[in-house]
Amino acid sequence: MSSILSDEVHQDSSNSTVKQTFLEATVATIVEEMRADPTVFTMGQDIRGGVYGAYPLAEFGERVRSLPISEAANVGAAIGSAMTGMRPVLDMTIATFLYSAMDQIVNQAAKSRFLFGGQARLPLVIRCTMFYGSSQAAHHNDRAYAMFMHVPGLKIVVPSSPVNAKGLMRAAIRSNDPVLVFEDSTLWGTRGDVPVDPDFIIPLGEAEIRQRGSDVTVIGIGQSLRTVDQALKLLGKDGISIEVIDPRSLCPFDWKTVLASVDKTRRVVVVDNGPMTCGVAGEILATVAEHFHGRLLAPPKRVTAPDMHLAFSPQLEKALLPSREAVAEAIKSTFEYRGKEI
């Protein structure tokens, strides 16, 4: 799927790529950064056991550290080391375990620089995986990045492909601020062409236009872009000219690209696998509504999970995630809308 590679990517000096899965690309980037910068190190529960990717243990020694089940201390250890010159990459494994360290994330990581009047730097990366769609049940399957968007002081990325995983992880590690990387377990196995250039980076705050179009702007977060791709297939080649945007980073958020697209298409559909209320999709709709009063050709639409937990039982779990049909229908009805308008 060539649309994965955005314009920026092609500008790279080195054009050689390698086929990697999302997870391989992620781990490879951490390893590359550890090689390039001795202050980068990584920690995670069972990380030396290779449960979430295999690191060259002999090469890095103490710089790959297995952690006890002490989430608050683990995040605190990352914060304290970041404040004193290191660049930790902390693998929290599952995104729902962030809650066990929420004080350290929200009160300490996000606030320390501000509270101390700029004295602190916190170059730390927190990786976590959203295990949904695979019967892990509600203690593992949250998709709660929007909660963290409400917290000033945190940068947030949600990679949607191997190449994005690579470029965003590098940007996260090189960032001087705390970055949360929400990985989607259903994408871990996806393969794609990934640049080998050891400086290949996707700057935080740059959306990717995956497909250009002029009728409807469709914005998807993380894995939901796959659902969008499937919906586009359902809709067929002709008829609607659709622009597909992947914001890639939720903070900073590339409002410029999103608003420019809506300015052109004047129709917008946002797809997100997270719950609806106070989610990313709602935020995009609100911002669009503030900017395009009287100029939209159809009501802005969101296709999200409802405000409901996902069940263990496979069909029940699936029923609550945006389906290709629902996305296709949302795009179609938005395009065909002929209600009140200017």
Binding site: A137, A138, S313
Partner: protein, 332 residues
């Protein structure tokens, strides 16, 4: 020394066998794809579960963790709804919502297992507080692992239970590992029992492969709890034969974290075999008697599987159920 009736001893064997066979069958079903999601077995740990549960009465409370099947089985839950839960069926004990890591059977005092390591301890503490406030003689027992003894909630719960002298028993299923990481690398102290010192409560190392030792120690803790003296920390040494979880297709890159020899050595102290031997030597049962209990349990598990298989998946129209008691339609 607690006196156990013949029936109680046979029931101990039966419950241990239930856990063993239930989990063996569940593993097979998971491998075949009939059970979705990951699955954590208690095979090898049956004695600590059953020894503890048999020291409780039906109305006593219990919370547990991701390794969740053994606990409700040990406390006497019927197998059909448990197996149906693993298959994600509407007849499951949690109606297919919770699955393997979140079994609960409130009818027998099982207040729920937890996919979040350490999270069951504060909740058991709360159940014990409730018993105290209501003036009943109920106790609460919480199962957790060696890994969980490093969580903040462990510390906070033990302290809270100790200052309020709550009737709660903290039972650490110390199987030496958290996923693929050794307790000896992660738990700073040799005996988790020694952590009791931090709360001025009794802490005891218990042979978890001997169901009678566990029963004995837990019974003592129950007495203490009921007497108003407060919590006890039991550091129960056990071993799991299988890997942390059956992950389906995951975990290929996992390095070997323990030796075959270690597993073999542990298997030599198989809790079920050891207890069967005790029963035979004590003339509670003969070999045939043991075999017949086993045969009964096998057919119980088979029936549970049949029940589960014959049951329907939850209807998609019920996807919004059980969010609130006082109904609020979820937004969508």
């Amino acid at each position: 020394m607690v006196e156990l009736s013949r029936e109680a001893k046979i029931e101990m064997l039966r419950r241990m066998l239930r856990i063993r066979i239930f989990d063996e069958v569940a593993s097979e079903l998971q491998a075949k794809g009939e059970i979705p999601g990951p699955l954590h077995t208690s095979i090898g740990q049956e004695a600590e579960v059953v020894g503890a549960c048999m020291a409780l009465s039906r109305q006593d409370y219990m919370t547990g963790n991701h390794r969740s099947h053994g606990h409700p089985i040990g406390k006497g839950a019927p197998l059909g709804p448990l197996m149906a839960e693993l298959l994600g069926k509407e007849t499951g004990v949690c109606k297919g919502r919770g699955g393997s890591m979140h079994l609960a059977d409130f009818a027998i005092g099982s207040l729920g297992e937890s996919g979040i390591v350490g999270a069951g301890m504060p909740i058991a503490t709360g159940a014990a507080l409730s018993a105290k406030l209501r003036g009943t003689d109920q106790v609460a027992l919480t199962f957790f692992g060696d890994g969980a003894s490093n969580t903040g909630p462990f510390h906070e719960s033990l302290n809270l239970a100790a200052i309020w002298k709550l009737p709660v028993i903290f039972l650490c299923e110390n199987n030496g590992y958290a996923v693929v990481t050794r307790a000896s690398d992660m738990v700073a102290v040799e005996n988790i029992a020694d952590r009791a010192t931090a709360y001025a409560i009794p802490g005891e190392v218990v042979d978890g492969q001997n169901v009678l030792s566990v029963h004995e120690a837990t019974s003592r803790a129950v007495k203490r709890a009921q007497s108003g003296a407060g919590p006890t920390l039991l550091d129960v040494r056990t071993y799991r034969y299988r890997d942390h979880a059956e992950f389906g297709k995951m975990g290929d890159s996992v390095a070997s974290y323990r030796s075959k020899e270690e597993v073999e050595a542990a298997r030599k102290r198989d809790p079920i075999e050891m207890f069967a031997k005790i029963l035979i030597e004590g003339e509670v049962l003969d070999e045939d008697g043991v075999a017949s209990v086993r045969a009964q349990v096998i057919s119980e598990v088979d029936e549970a599987v049949d029940f589960a298989r014959a049951s329907a998946f939850p209807d998609v129209s019920t996807a919004f159920d059980f969010l609130f008691v006082d109904a609020v339609a979820p937004r969508h």
